[in-house]
Symmetry: C2
């Protein structure tokens, strides 16, 4: 499949690009508002893969070019850039599934708190901004980006997948499960997205309060 | 230690009573609004322990008697009975730590949703109802009650502990960690309780949507 990582120069984009390059044969396109920045990131990712004996060909583009004719486009951007990123690529989406891993949070007394958008969740916000025929799936929220990006580390984590389009949800779940050690679990419809997204500030707080935990993920069992 | 399980005739009370009877030598007191119901539950728990070759002496009382001079009193009651249960035992609490495992939730489109009380969380609600010198700790929310109560099953789960009194939080964390396979993680102050409590409806939804998951707990790693 053709996978676009819009905003893929950040932590989570890097981790996912490296893992998919290592574990799958998907075509990977890293996007950024600035195509030069995307190409620099791709060079860095290819060097890192090369150090692990993995030959991969990833491409760097402006976000719109990366999303063009992609089967799946991930919105690896902060929640406050979600809507403008979707608007900037909207006319390139043709039978493309949009995936939102974004979480809104704020630091409050005692730790990070989930910042629930008035749309109900960040995934719902993405769905409201996306063209009507483009399915939006929430996934990859609670992954420890540092662990993903460190190819010497084995992943053993779950990601929760929410969406209203069952076929698209299945496609994204398969994409997730293509990463060794990552399990995709169905968390239901977008109406269920808020508690899924609010896991991320919880994980950050746990890493802060517990000496033995860092770059922490979650398993349901 | 002397541990009171107020409302301990329900699922979570049963599971915790059986596990502490099996794995620790704490004095266990099961409370109910109706002392007769508490004594019946205790008989059932002792029979179950006996079937596993464990000799345990648990006592059944009215909630107030169970909480009397307890080191720790757990409020194993639905969120909507939390305040009246605290009021019914308030004059018995002497150097007692109150523990709230309760979660408010409601069934909505797509699944269960966390029902956040206006106090900010169920734990904060308990803290506001408790006598001023009684520390309140939130813990044991996300445990699979069925797995706890089935002594043939090994537990491998985390419980998240929140509280504003560090010493009391440590005592409750030690109590939790006394159960084989249960790990207590510090999730910070009561200000962080809402995302901890909202894990429970998420776990219920995951069990509903994923065939391989039932009686599901959570691990952070």
């Amino acid at each position: 499949m053709r996978i676009a990582l819009c905003g893929g120069t950040g932590d989570i984009g890097k981790g996912l690009a490296l893992r998919w390059a290592k574990d799958t044969d998907h075509d990977l396109l890293v996007g950024s508002r600035n195509p030069e920045k995307a190409r620099e990131a791709v060079e860095e990712y290819e060097d890192e893969l090369d150090r692990h004996g993995i030959e991969a060909s990833i491409s760097g583009f402006a976000n719109g070019m990366a999303a063009d004719r992609a089967d799946i486009a991930l919105l690896c951007v902060p929640a406050y850039h979600l809507v403008d990123t979707i608007e900037s690529i909207a006319d390139r989406l043709e039978e493309t599934i949009l995936v939102s891993p974004a979480v809104g949070m704020q630091r409050e007394e005692g730790g990070f708190q989930y910042n629930r958008p008035s749309a109900g969740s960040v995934t719902a916000l993405a769905a409201s901004a996306a063209p009507e025929d483009v399915p939006v799936i929430g996934a990859f929220h609670s992954l420890a980006a540092g662990k993903l990006a460190n190819l010497d580390t084995e992943i053993e984590a779950d990601t929760l997948v929410v969406g209203d389009d069952e076929e698209a949800k299945g496609t994204v779940s398969d994409l997730a499960a293509g990463i060794d050690g990552l399990r995709a679990l169905d968390a239901g419809s977008i109406a269920n997205a808020a508690p899924v997204e609010s896991l991320t500030p919880l994980l950050i707080n746990l890493a802060q309060y517990n000496r033995d935990l860092s770059d922490v993920g979650v398993r349901f069992e």
